[in-house]
Symmetry: C2
Subunit: 458 residues, 2 copies
């Protein structure tokens, strides 16, 4: 194969592979989407190597899909048109800590938790904490999906924290985007366009992130509520009152039951909120008391987690716990985002829709942001229930779109949510396709994602 | 003129004008750039009317420049190629307050202060407070320039507060961008691209903004320092320690002298910081004390403004006060943004550069964001001093670019800062031009801005 031959002139043989085992690893992600093997996997170590590989792909008109940890949930890195997978996991260095500016420059393959371990001695952290994936998700993957996490309710999502980036476009050109100034009004915001574009516009090879100082004071807690709607109302009210929560996670009763079954956490089996407050040692108690008072109006009760467990160590296992309830199944999941005032309504509607379709759902999410995941775990072999679960998902997503929401709060569109894109974006979808062509004229960067692939000239 | 005739079929005669007085008003802004009269001014009242006017301009290949208050500082709305000025000042309605979601939908012509007056009964406000222009600047203009203001250090700039927008592209097409969800990972971030594009990609006709709750507690104060460098070091240190300031404005000694001369404020003539803290009635004192302690390490001293004056009422007049020192002059101004740790160095360098060129500068700005304006007030008729002031500006901007900064922190590029764009954006400037063509294929929206106009096929 002449492509592989040419790649051999760009990278050492040890960093190019066509072995089935390597192609298999690069074929899939954590979604229910069908894996597809690429033709070749490469492990570049520098911007220059990425540029040369993409340049080679451009010459040959071969697809290139960048890959981090493969922990995405919508098929985002599946190389559906084959070609080259650019595995960036070995580009995992902290390039420079700009301590005085609360910034860090990193390579894209560094894992979220690993970055924060390295930042700890500097008194800094990168806030968007991508839930159960924090110990595997790479910064490059978070940037590609504009990921959010438990602390995004206070600190924002990934896009707001990307100050500057070195990126390689679909022609192999290297661009420097952004600035180290906290604020700029100079030129078009190409950086914000590349963030969240799922590797379809450009591949980031270095990122400068803005950070937060580690809070001096921190307080965590958990509350239970009689119903899911009570918990949802409490969240919407706290956010409206501006209660300064660093995190407020919602778990429905069924998710709690699943967690108890999975790991014997011994949690009270009620709809629950897990909270965290950041501030000074004095201020966190006051904020927590305000939160508690609002929750008590919705019959919320502060509970103590058994054995002094940390709420995030529990929360971490939610998806796995739900999946374990039906190991033979696959997961259909929503990634709904919506105006926060609609949270109680979205929760109620989602249960009603699932009930009508005869399927069982579990709901949880960064509810303070207005993000709710509904997980339906079904066996695809049971075609009738699988189809019913799909219909339930369509109706739930349709409802949030009808109230000004989004089909993807934080996971990206990938393959899994493409059918909602036309409804959400309407006529601006045509413009997005034109912009794709500006960055990637031959349509080789992660083709087939966000909207159905229409071929090289799409 | 057939264009005006055709416009008459789209709008009532009372909202179309070719009168010299109207053309004159639409010709310029607050910058030193040469005004240029358009051929016709129109006052649309709806998205539909804007769409039809732009559609007509598209047919005729005639430039269309959207205009708000004309308070911009870089020539941004000057219709340098003539054509139609679309004056949006009559589209100034608050369309809907979404109180529970801390959002508001507005038309673009509403003035910043007027919006906040209307939001006050709801307990909400739109934070980016554009300094001395707050009583004239329109939301549409702020969005076009991604404006920031005194409260952006805590709450962010304009882009971060735009949730959704109705926009009209250069072909007259109406697009709905964004979502009312606080967070989305769906599709390309076209909304963020349009914000800050200075009316060159699309014209916003409705905007949904995210708001903040009015703080329960608020504390203001002022400090003086022996030198500008001491004040700058204090700011950089406070931001590094994460002191939660809502505003921290820097004024050099000369700006204070100018303010005293302009309005007899009776201020102590020393480099000064004006601060504001937002929080609970209890927390603001504690934060202010921390700020004071940091400032005292740099020999800063808390002062009481004479006659119980509010610092922002004083700050408001800074530009006018400096201009009044030389009424026959024009203003050359920088809009530098840079990594905050460089603030003391940028301040020192700017004075040294001005001294070397024999010109006098005044510096002030949202220094907590890393934004510094240096104002040089000279008479263009004195060609030697005018050229020296230009060279001084070039060197100051060159310095911040060399340390990872930006030529425009908040005013946009317009006409005034075009010469720095190639240096700042390098090869991505070519991509910006391609994107311009995607939104505006005939190059009719505010042509000649951000980079030098290369004609319709540019």
């Amino acid at each position: 194969m002449s492509l592989v031959h040419e790649l051999s002139s760009l990278l050492p043989a040890a960093r190019i592979s066509t072995r089935v085992a390597d192609l298999e690893v690069a074929a899939g992600d954590e979604s229910a989407c069908q894996p597809v093997r690429p033709d070749v996997v490469v492990w570049p170590l520098s911007t220059d190597e990425v540029s040369r590989v993409v340049g080679c792909a451009w010459t040959h008109g071969v697809p290139v899909t960048a890959r981090g940890a493969g922990s995405s949930l919508e098929g985002n890195p599946i190389p559906v048109r084959g070609g080259i997978v650019l595995d960036l996991s070995r580009m995992d260095a902290v390039v420079e800590v700009h301590q005085e500016d609360l910034q860090v420059s990193v390579q894209p393959g560094i894992v979220y938790n690993r970055l924060n371990e390295q930042l700890k001695p500097w008194g800094l952290f990168f806030p968007p904490s991508p839930g159960g994936s924090s110990d595997v998700a790479t910064i490059g993957g978070m940037v590609a999906n504009n990921a959010s996490g438990i602390y995004s309710v206070k600190y924002g999502g990934t896009r707001e924290h990307v100050q500057a980036a070195t990126v390689v476009t679909g022609t192999g050109h290297v661009l420097e985007l952004g600035t180290r100034s906290r604020k700029t009004s100079s030129g078009y915001h190409l950086l914000g366009l590349v963030v969240g574009s799922e590797g379809t516009l450009a591949i980031a090879t270095q990122l400068t992130l803005s950070l937060a100082g580690l809070p001096q004071g921190r307080k965590q807690g958990a509350l239970t509520f009689p119903t899911e709607k009570d918990a949802a109302t409490a969240i919407a009210t706290m956010m409206r009152y501006g209660v300064d929560l660093a995190a407020v996670e919602f778990l429905d009763r069924r998710s709690i039951v699943a967690l108890n079954r999975y790991r014997g956490f011994g949690l009270e089996e009620q709809p629950s909120l897990f909270l965290e407050v950041h501030g000074t040692p004095d201020s966190v108690d006051a904020v927590f008391e305000t939160a508690q008072a609002v929750c008590e109006e919705q019959a919320g009760r502060v509970i103590v987690l058994p054995d002094g467990q940390n709420p995030w160590d529990v929360r971490h296992f939610t998806t796995r716990a739900i999946q374990a309830l039906k190991p033979e199944g696959k997961t259909i999941r929503t990634d709904m985002g919506f105006p926060l005032s609609r949270l109680p309504e979205v929760v109620e509607h989602s249960y009603a829709i699932a009930e009508r379709h005869g399927v069982v759902l579990h709901t949880f999410g960064h509810a303070g942001l207005g993000i709710l995941h509904a997980l339906l775990r079904e066996d695809p072999a049971d075609t009738q229930r699988w189809a019913a679960a799909q219909r339930a998902k369509d109706e739930m997503v349709g409802f949030v779109l009808s109230v000004g929401g989004t089909a993807s709060g934080e996971h990206g569109i990938g393959l899994g949510s493409q059918k909602y894109v036309a409804q959400e974006h309407g006529s601006s979808l045509a413009l997005m396709k034109h912009i794709k062509r500006v960055f990637d004229p031959k349509h080789i960067l992660n083709p087939g994602k966000i909207w159905p692939d229409e071929g090289v000239d799409g």
